[in-house]
């Protein structure tokens, strides 16, 4: 059964991308609903298979590496596959109602959407550096295209800026990959790691790591290379922003994390780990601080992404040179952070889109008095905010808890204030929005209620993110599942 699942997972998106390219928006919508259903079922099936029997390696088409494409299907990968299915399905569903079919260029949404999905699945499952690059490029290009869908000149400007950053990042990464191949003759991460373990490190080997990490962190918008993210995420249509913030930036981080965990032990250093962690910490504070002062609702959410992504980079210091359980705790924390941020941020962008649609303005202060109409979306926004603040019982809280624990256990107490202050600052910007909605002002009697399904989608995502903390145990237990057979080559 597994081959069918794998085939479905990787080829459905590509096939659908081609299919939808041929038809207009409305037909694309119908076709895509079918495709989304298939994808969700397949993702669930794969997750169930791995949860039941453990992970495995899979040679695409039966050819072994280096000729064929080798996929590593472990607990972590399938968790992200499932997450992608959930979030992408929600965003796709939302977009199918939210986007205006009358605008001609919207018909390109569906093909780009499916290419993006294909790329994401490729990255989660990819086992060697070059395949990962391919996935990454696929993601970047379709993401740029999606941003440009906004249609306005500002959207195009943001898209171009994004494209430049993405290309620069890809180039740096590719250079690193080339150097690695030159030195080790292998592109498989596991293979390089084994070689390093046998032969030990030689001088000059750190450079490729640095190059790869630079490229990837640029794509992940780590401070101070975050400048491209807020315009792009802020200007894109809401479902697109949701996809970008929830999934796209996570893909490059995922690669960086895999490289770091497998190779960082040999090629990295304490200083490097601390530097990246420190930049992440600054991102947490700086991003939240900027979010607090944005006038536009979606810019608030976009800067919040910069901050939340900053947390992820605490993975680097907290896994370098610490005891195995502490490192595991940090990894679990970061994984939870990725999942909960993906769910919460998607919910937040979708809800923000609904709110903007309701009040007819994208400014925060236009929300005055909105809470009187008891909009579902505002509630979803708030629930998602709870997760971003890291308050219980959300997944964000569970993540923060694990990070706190591992900071304490590793003796790196200087991350504690970052974690706590980040939570408080995110509370500040979430409550700023809430506060605006509670303001009573004369003449705010017009309120357009979006259709029920538009409102339900962010609510489901927000509730999932909120409830994640309660089921964090089971979720994490799937993620740490070992491979069924021995490691890759």
């Amino acid at each position: 059964m597994t081959p069918w699942l794998m085939a479905g997972l990787l080829f459905t998106p590509l096939a659908w991308a081609v299919l939808t390219l041929l038809v207009n928006f409305n037909r694309g919508r119908l076709i895509s609903w079918l495709g989304i259903l298939v994808q969700v079922v397949v993702s669930l099936g794969l997750w169930a298979a791995v949860a039941g029997d453990g992970g495995f390696h899979y040679q695409l088409g039966g050819w072994p590496a280096p000729l064929g494409i080798e996929l590593r299907v472990d607990g972590l990968a399938v968790t992200f596959v499932l997450l992608t299915a959930l979030v992408a399905a929600a965003c796709g569903w939302h977009a199918s109602i939210y986007l205006d079919p009358a605008k001609a260029w919207h018909r390109y949404f569906w093909p780009l959407f499916w290419f993006l999905w294909a790329g994401l699945n490729g990255v989660w499952l990819g086992g060697d550096l070059f395949n990962l690059y391919v996935g990454l490029e696929l993601i970047s290009l379709s993401a740029v295209g999606l941003v440009a869908l906004g249609g306005e000149s500002a959207a195009l400007r943001a898209a171009i800026r994004y494209l430049m950053a993405a290309l620069l990042g890809s180039l740096a990464y590719l250079l690193g990959v080339a150097l690695i191949y030159g030195q080790f003759g292998s592109l498989s991460i596991a293979g390089v790691s084994r070689l390093l373990g046998e032969a030990g490190t030689a001088p000059g080997q750190t450079l490729p790591l640095l190059l790869m990490l630079f490229g990837l962190t640029l794509k992940t918008a780590l401070f101070p290379m975050h400048g491209w993210l807020p315009p792009a995420h802020g200007i894109a249509r809401s479902p697109v922003s949701a996809l970008l913030s929830a999934l796209v930036v996570k893909a490059s981080f995922y690669i960086a994390a895999r490289i770091w965990l497998d190779l960082g032990g040999y090629l990295g250093s304490y200083g490097l780990a601390q530097l990246i962690g420190g930049l992440g910490a600054i991102a947490v504070i700086w991003g939240s601080w900027r979010a607090l002062w944005q006038a536009k609702l979606k810019q608030v959410v976009a800067y919040s992404s910069v901050a939340q992504i900053g947390y992820l980079f605490l993975l680097f210091p907290l896994t370098w040179g610490v005891a195995e359980p502490v490192s595991l705790q940090a990894q679990q924390g970061i994984t939870l952070q990725i999942i909960s941020h993906a769910l919460a941020k998607a919910a937040m962008f979708l809800a923000a889109g609904n709110l903007i649609m309701s009040v007819g303005s994208n400014r925060v202060d236009a929300l005055a008095g909105v809470s009187r109409f008891l909009p579902f979306s505002l509630f979803s926004f708030g629930l998602a905010g709870v997760s971003l603040m890291g308050l219980p019982p959300s997944g964000g809280f569970a993540a923060k808890w694990l990070l706190l624990q591992s900071s304490l256990a590793s003796g790196q107490w200087w991350w504690l204030p970052v974690l706590l202050a980040g939570g408080l600052l995110s509370a500040a910007y979430v409550f700023r929005v809430y506060r605006a909605s509670f303001m009573e002002r004369a003449g705010t009697d017009r309120f357009f209620h979006p259709s029920r399904s538009l409102e339900v989608i962010p609510m489901i995502l927000a509730l999932l993110s909120l409830g994640l903390g309660l089921v964090a145990g089971p979720v994490l237990s799937v993620m740490v599942l070992p491979f069924g057979e021995g490691g890759g080559q």
Partner: protein, 498 residues
């Protein structure tokens, strides 16, 4: 897992479900909303009653599962949790009745009652939490669900108050989280247990444990309004009266105080906490808060603001009682948890009645209110005398027990604190009472509404009268086996006298 052991979950769910249902109800369905509200409140009261009965019989109710690796989510009903749960279940019912009357005809009622039920659910969770982690979970949930209540009116003043509230409580929450995480990293998951864990402390742990205790108290002290962390409370009184009543009497400040009780009694243990020299410091802070709150109350012109400062002062009695190193003092502190709740809710109900019926907010507008609203004024008078500590009202029982407890352990200065605080209480309450009963009404009431035969709406009047009767009974019949005092003595017998 038997059905009975799920009782705590059901008790939690009643108000949670009520919240969900109310959020989905349209604004105009007044009857249905009231029915759901009151029905849930009554069911919860019954459930709590069943649990109390079970605990008297020696049964225990516990539900637990693992949330995050190494951390369990525990809901448990024990004697101590029932003290708080019983109080909040009872006062929730009354406050709901009151709120229905208070908000009649005003906008945004669905939103209000939804968040109202959510905050009660959080309070219930705080009462039933079986370990620090679960406690923290509901503690933060309380913060979030009370914010919309504080800013309910949407005026700039309310929004300012809400901002200050949220800043204080979230910062407190962050500190608390740090402390809990640290403690967890140090010694693992700690369920609340009578007698605590640190009867014998290794020397190496003394420093961290003391520091953690300070952090815990600082985090909890924000909600308990310990000076200097009390700044949000007097501002939060801009909220509608039932909210103030709930915040001051049951939910927020009590959550903080209850948390400190749990930490002192069931995490550190009374002996260990005093052994580490922590209680003496806490006692000092509590004593200062008692005096400071009363002294500030003396200078207020707004009735609800005065009551807020009075709360600052009164809640610290609970904490001071804990610090008296002995079973008697602990009993005094714990029983004040209930007594202060009943007294303060009465006072806030009455203040709300004055505001709603006569449009009176300032103390100097109260002249002659006794003539116009005798029943409300009687309730207010009883509440005020209870606060002063006049027998046979509930406040006296507390003061008397705390006083004897303090003397028994040689902390004579506590009696001075009690006396000074009572004097200050008298100094700010008695002039109000004079105005109410003996003031000459010169002008018309600022904004008078009439309700036919009764002095005010029956929804507003009865809750105040019921709590007033309760505050007499709690003191007058303190020795009966059904009184709060007897329940507290049961707790103390299980907790301290091990």
């Amino acid at each position: 897992m038997s059905l009975a052991s799920l009782l705590p979950v059901f008790a939690l769910m009643t108000s949670l479900l009520a919240a969900v249902i109310i959020f989905t109800l349209p604004e105009r369905s007044f009857r249905l909303r009231t029915l759901v509200n009151l029905g849930a409140a009554v069911i919860k009261l019954v459930l709590v009653g069943v649990m109390i009965w079970g605990i008297v019989q020696g049964r225990a109710y516990e539900v637990a599962f693992t949330m995050v690796p190494g951390v369990r989510f525990v809901l448990r009903a024990d004697a101590l949790s029932m003290l708080f749960a019983g109080l909040s279940a009872l006062l929730w019912l009354l406050t709901t009745i009151y709120a229905v009357g208070y908000l009649e005809g005003s906008p945004n009622r669905s939103r209000f009652f939804g968040f109202f039920s959510l905050s009660v659910a959080s309070t219930m969770g705080i009462a039933l939490a079986g370990n620090l982690f679960t406690f923290f979970l509901f503690y933060e949930m309380l913060t979030l669900s009370t914010y919309p209540l504080v800013v309910h009116r949407g005026t700039p003043k309310a929004l300012r108050a809400g901002r200050s509230y949220i800043i204080y409580t979230l910062c407190g929450g962050a500190v608390l989280l740090l402390a809990i995480a640290w403690l967890h990293g140090l010694v693992g998951d700690l369920s609340f247990r009578p007698g605590g864990y640190f009867a014998e402390v290794e020397d190496a742990l003394r420093g961290p444990l003391s520091l953690i205790f300070v952090l815990l108290v600082a985090g909890l002290g924000v909600k308990a309004a310990l000076v200097p962390l009390h700044g949000w409370l007097p501002q939060a009184m801009v909220a509608p009266a039932p909210v103030s009543a709930l915040l001051h009497a049951v939910a927020v400040v009590k959550a903080g105080a209850f948390g400190i009780v749990r930490v002192v009694l069931e995490i550190y243990g009374l002996d260990a906490a005093s052994d580490l020299g922590l209680l003496a410091g806490l006692a000092g802070v509590a004593a200062f808060t008692i005096i400071y709150g009363s002294a500030r109350a003396l200078y207020q012109v707004d009735l609800k603001r005065l009551l807020a400062f009075s709360t600052v002062s009164q809640v610290s009695y609970i904490i001071l009682g804990l610090c008296l190193f002995g079973p008697v003092g602990v009993a005094g502190g714990l029983v004040h948890l209930v007594h202060q709740g009943i007294m303060k809710i009465t006072l806030f109900f009455c203040a709300g009645n004055y505001a709603e019926t006569l449009g009176v907010h300032r103390i100097d507008e109260l002249d002659g209110a006794g003539e116009r609203m005798p029943a409300t004024s009687v309730a207010f008078t009883l509440g005020a005398f209870g606060m002063i500590g006049v027998p046979p009202l509930a406040g006296f029982t507390t003061k008397w027990i705390m006083g004897t407890g303090a003397l028994a352990v040689g902390m004579d200065w506590v009696v001075v604190v009690l006396v000074v605080s009572s004097l200050l209480n008298a100094a700010y309450f008695l002039p109000i009472l004079h105005r109410i009963w003996f003031g000459e009404r010169q002008a018309a009431w600022p904004q008078e509404r009439r309700w036919g035969r009764l002095e005010t709406s029956a929804w507003l009047l009865w809750p105040a009268l019921i709590t007033a009767v309760l505050l007499i009974l709690a003191g007058l019949l303190a020795n009966l086996p059904v009184s709060p005092l007897s329940w507290v003595e049961l707790i103390v017998a299980r907790e301290v006298a091990l």
